[in-house]
């Protein structure tokens, strides 16, 4: 897939980083403000999709495989499961129990393991949506070749 015109490329250059940072902000503040892992993950995936659409598929150094994103996704969901399992060992002996101290509501580091879940679910959602998009693009390239 070829990239778009110079105007689109320049605008993307300015915007994509901001979109990515906003996604990270939404993920990290998921337990304080509206948002969370799902919203932030989709926003992060959106920034990568924007870059790929503007600069063409050579930008992501596509090697006819989606290996990187699939491995990231699987590792993220595995880590989330391990955190949930840790509740069996350290916490009250319940799967998915909140085993870190709850802290004071309203501060950035609070709410026990919820921010950790937010981060890993965010990575998982971002990686899976990006994988779907890359699979579509790679399919299109192989068809036109």
């Amino acid at each position: 897939m070829k990239g778009m015109t110079l105007i689109v490329k320049k605008t993307t250059q300015l915007i994509a980083g901001l979109v990515f940072l906003y996604g990270i902000y939404v993920v990290l503040h998921g337990h304080l403000t509206p948002g969370g892992g799902f919203a932030g993950g989709v926003i992060i995936a959106g920034s990568f999709i924007l870059l790929t659409l503007a600069y063409g598929s050579d930008f992501m150094k596509l090697t006819r495989e989606e290996t990187g994103t699939t491995i990231t996704e699987n590792l993220a969901i595995l880590t989330a499961l391990l955190i949930a399992l840790a509740g069996l060992i350290f916490g009250a002996g319940i799967f998915f129990s909140n085993w870190l101290p709850a802290g004071k509501a309203g501060e950035l580091i609070s709410a026990g393991v919820i921010p950790l879940y937010n981060i890993f679910i965010g990575i998982e959602v971002a990686a899976s949506i990006l994988t779907i998009f890359l699979a579509l693009i790679i399919f299109k390239e192989e068809i036109t070749k």
Binding site: L32, F38, V42, G106, I129, F139
Partner: protein, 112 residues
């Protein structure tokens, strides 16, 4: 009560599309319309008149809040909806490559 009825009508419009349309893309669009109506219905159930968004300000506890449970359910359902729509779209693109048409009836006749 009119809101609920309009929500049902939106659902039924999607159902009508699924039954009568012959184009695969139209069927997927109808499916997502049905999805939208279900999301809206769940969000409507949880609404409390005069309530504020379910985010607690630690400085001023108390007050009326909207029910957070239906919102949590819809939040997961929206992301699943994206994944299933993408999967249906990839099935459609494969079908078009094989049969060169999106018409359900023609695909049934071709049988290849």
């Amino acid at each position: 009560m009119t809101v609920y009825l309009l929500c049902f009508i939106l659902f039924l419009v999607g159902l009508y599309g699924i039954i009568t349309r012959r184009n695969l893309v139209k069927i997927v669009i109808s499916l997502s319309i049905m999805e939208f109506s279900v999301f809206l219905f769940l969000a409507l159930i949880g609404y409390v008149e005069g309530g504020s968004a379910p985010i607690i300000d630690p400085a001023t506890p108390g007050g009326i809040y909207v029910d957070p449970l239906p919102q949590a359910m819809v939040l997961t359902a929206i992301v699943i909806g994206l994944a299933t729509t993408a999967m249906l779209m990839s099935v459609i693109i494969r079908i078009y490559r094989k049969y060169k048409t999106l018409d359900v009836r023609e695909i049934k006749n071709l049988r290849g």
